[in-house]
Symmetry: C2
Subunit: 702 residues, 2 copies
Amino acid sequence: MTIFYNAFHAPIGAHSSFTAGCRGRNGGLGLELGGPADENLYIGMEAPEGGRFEALPFFEGAESESARYDHTNEGTSAEGLIKPFRPEAICRDFRLGEDKWKAGDLTFSIYSPVEAVPDPVGCSADQLKAVVRPSVLAELTLDNRQGKTARKAFFGFMPTGNPDALHVVDLDRGGVGICKGQSTGIFSDDATVHARQHFTAEDALREETAANYRFGLGGTALLVGTVPAGQTRTFRFAVCFFRGGIVTTGMPTSYLYSRFFNSLAEVAAYSLKNFEDIRRRAEQSDRLLGAAHLNDDQRFQMIHAIRSYYGSTQLLEHEGKPLWVVNEGEYRMLNTFDLTVDQLFFEMRMNPWTVRNELDLFTSRYSYRDTVHFPGGGNDHPGGISFCHDMGVRNHFTAPGFSSYELSALTGCFSHMTHEQLVNWVLCAAVYARQSRDKAWLADNLPVFEDCLQSMLNRDNPVAAERNGIMALDSSRTADGAEITTYDSLDTSLGQARHNVYMAVKGWAAYLAMERIFAEANQCELARVAGGQADRAAATIVSFMTDEGYIPAVMGEACDSRIIPAIEGLVFPYVLDQKEALDPNGRFGQLIQALSRHLTTILVPGVCLYPDGGWQLSSTADNSWLSKIYLCQFVARRVLGIRTPATGQMADAAHRRWLLQEENLRFAWSDQMRSGVAHGSKYYPRGVTSILWLEEEPDHTP
Amino acid sequence: MTIFYNAFHAPIGAHSSFTAGCRGRNGGLGLELGGPADENLYIGMEAPEGGRFEALPFFEGAESESARYDHTNEGTSAEGLIKPFRPEAICRDFRLGEDKWKAGDLTFSIYSPVEAVPDPVGCSADQLKAVVRPSVLAELTLDNRQGKTARKAFFGFMPTGNPDALHVVDLDRGGVGICKGQSTGIFSDDATVHARQHFTAEDALREETAANYRFGLGGTALLVGTVPAGQTRTFRFAVCFFRGGIVTTGMPTSYLYSRFFNSLAEVAAYSLKNFEDIRRRAEQSDRLLGAAHLNDDQRFQMIHAIRSYYGSTQLLEHEGKPLWVVNEGEYRMLNTFDLTVDQLFFEMRMNPWTVRNELDLFTSRYSYRDTVHFPGGGNDHPGGISFCHDMGVRNHFTAPGFSSYELSALTGCFSHMTHEQLVNWVLCAAVYARQSRDKAWLADNLPVFEDCLQSMLNRDNPVAAERNGIMALDSSRTADGAEITTYDSLDTSLGQARHNVYMAVKGWAAYLAMERIFAEANQCELARVAGGQADRAAATIVSFMTDEGYIPAVMGEACDSRIIPAIEGLVFPYVLDQKEALDPNGRFGQLIQALSRHLTTILVPGVCLYPDGGWQLSSTADNSWLSKIYLCQFVARRVLGIRTPATGQMADAAHRRWLLQEENLRFAWSDQMRSGVAHGSKYYPRGVTSILWLEEEPDHTP
């Protein structure tokens, strides 16, 4: 399998990434982008015989800009002065906190720690600064012990993007950087490293006049070191990102890191000064995935997914208070709620306060109240509270009560996800409250839970006696349309919210969670209502079991598809420590048995398995979300106990092959796959659902 | 001739432009760009029969981004819902302060005043704010007096550029805007106008559900008004630009306008509130070019050139003091000195303080001292002060004493322009001091003039007795290369500085200027030296007159080309009111007669006239700079009295045709032309040399 895939090497909360690994001009230093920066990267060395250069293959031949100024003289061509290493000569070691390439005498590593973000309220400035510094580190080693002459080593880039100039920056206390405007830069504090800027990397390397090293019109810059014959030397770099001032519209916020840093140079000086510590933390990050029960394909996907998640994270500050945003990969929507609920498991493990932070903003600014109606119109019933699909897009916070995504009068993509986001709030809030033991927050939010329960009831049936635990009414915000689910570009089997078995099981889990919350709060009547709804939901779902052993995707409507995410909601009783609800012989035994049978029935080739063993979420649509597959794999194995090649190794291998398909290499980790090719949700944060796999350690098995 | 050329509609000092006029996706709202923003512009109306729309042809069919989110449903196509008006149905009235299109029932005007920038030191905040507000205005009138139904009118765009979101902004005191991030936006305070945002303009116009008007994922936005049947209505807009905070690297500066405005919305509110006043000032701008002696081709080129100049202007603030920058068109170098000297005439007319401001920064930060040598190396002699080619590029101020452009060890493009910039400082400073009557500044700068004189002497010959008034030594900064001139991409005829007749005449003018400055300062010895050098320069130049009646481009070296800019330097005695030096029978009569004969000899087809009557600056290179042609036309007619079709109407018509060549339409006003096609220096500010033509009013003839 190829080693030439892009990966994120991202600071935490800086919405940026030094993306590298894919051949060609497909990586670079991206700040607030929904894809790679498309910059040439030059990471290389002088060849042993001298005079020509070899580099990792992360660039394309760049045409010299010289011709724009001087169209009469074409200049002498230096094409071919830098040759990419032969692919076979390169090996790569891809870990969670370190990504390392070796080729010939060159070793290049990028360090990006994966670690908890401390709650900015209450932690020390030093602690916070160490984690949110917007940089990743790199090391380049050139082993010239066999060399007869001194050889150059270099690391640089040809930036794209904003209209500000590439330029060289000298650090106050020693060191030098090559910067694109005020936003991205590569720095070294090695006294033997110097900067070169020219039209092309070739021009820079063959420049013999030191006075010309800093050619201001040059669009390419390198940091260059020299290794004497017979020696090995390692050069250290910090790859830095920065955006100061107000960075969002709609609601003005700044990056929280701008509390600590005023410029790229300050980020660089701090990062280089603390190089040892940051590298050590990066190396320690690998421990997270050390568990022996993970196979290589799982570990690869987890590393990839976690890295991708961090590129989308954005720790902002609004009126002095932290504001945590996860951007939606290529789409860059802010805190898309149906991603939040899936990233929940990862954030609860790493930094639970971010979940609370997201929930609070959904409640205070991104909730709304509606009325509801049965399909066909001509009726209007009380609705209640729900939450927006997202909080905005591309650094713009939408108006209170409105997402950037949802439109009225639709039945497909871009319609409202009112019911799903309502359920998502309940589930996220329940998990946060339970796992964090934040009793004060729970007490404050009991009224919201109560509103949510009423809202869910109203979406089941306006008449209490006729409720069956399942959503049956669409929000008035859809007008004559209908609500959809997070599977927005799928067919009706997963795209329609109403009567959907995927939604129904998540709804059941939400009722179940609320039953305990209200019971523990001595709100007995509310607990009874919630519990009753859970029972009804379970009974309704079970009642639709077919003779063939599956539950149709949309129960009681004209959609007979078979869908894997029917089992997805079972994850919540598991993480909420309501294991008794998952007992095949317990209160919901029939539901558990039915869903177990459902999965066994459909997880077969031609229904919900692709020929390669990959999972097809719906029998009627060639469109699978890897993040959701990871989650459902966990449920299948850990909750339902179905441990087969189809739920494990065979699927893992197939999904890894998907990510390594030629078409997908550029986008690091992507979510939506059609027959293994990413067609949407590229460069995406949601794959951290795979963190659940850590729960499967054999010694943790009950 | 086509009316579909791009023109700048630029605020003053905001380095931005609402560029429009070229067909296709070639215009838009550009902030700090070296070319058009490449945005679709939608300026149109509902067709009389309703249901479909007609617009000015400033857009291309845009593919809907919908497919990125929803790849299973292709959506219904609305292609063809908006049709461009037929080209023949459109007329355009292109003035200095107003640009107006009419088509069918639609009239659309853009207002951008051309006016003096008051010196920020000493003027009132209100005065300054009125001029430097970063906006231009627009008006759209729909005449629906014949209409049977209400019809929509719209103005909007599909922005490109920075990764921030397009979004709708409601103004605090009424009004609405469509904004790209924090940087560009179109606003209206008309209570009947509303905003629509969607994937495409077609989607926006056919959207029937008001709840969907503000679709956050949409990449296109329109402001939409409605005109009732039987009525005419005019909608007002402000097209606004904004960049807050520090905007430059190398030396941190902000836009001066950020003293007054904190956001696009504040710019918009102010601009709309003062709409009447700003429009009136725009209309009054036209008076500048009202002089009856200008022909239409001249007036067209002047309007175009002046508009282009303003798009490159950037009024910054550094440590509380104003800093005036003119960016170099597509190249965006800051205050390129060989442009400053040509833009001098325009800035002296409009706002002389900007010339002083530029000169002071050249002296304090962008001067240096060198040694000099005769060609061939192996010799080194005292040099002296000179000035950098530029102050940086693309919002980056280079280090003190260094330009972004100049490299060592070259003989062509990107070599140093040491002598030329030295002469340029003397000439600009002399003109500023003379025309502004700023005696305090002159007194302060006398030592700099003295340094400049010594530096010029040293570049003539280290031995006083052997001086001939002409530059003969190259700067040590060129190492083994040679100095070039502003004609950097031309052949040796204008590209080489040493012994160049173009440089020689400018040098003569500089000596002459210093002779008087020193004389007036009672520095008799310096005046004598300067005057002596002027005499020597004149004698040397005259001595190279050939029998054929021309002076070779490079005197005494192997370059026999014939060049028009030999006469360029004569403009300085003219504007310095040293008319006696231009008397064909006076002290420099031989020089004046020689140059007059030179021009008459070469300004013939096949030598320095293109077949179409356009001017070819050098007989040996197909590369002509329009800005320099304008200047030399002025010298030919006004100073040398050569008023023929070749120096006037025939040339003017040819040059206008050049600008209107298909390939050039996109770049508004461009400078460097090869056989009439712009090959460099596009979208350029330097054409304001044409302001000199105003000096030719018959009633001003001596």
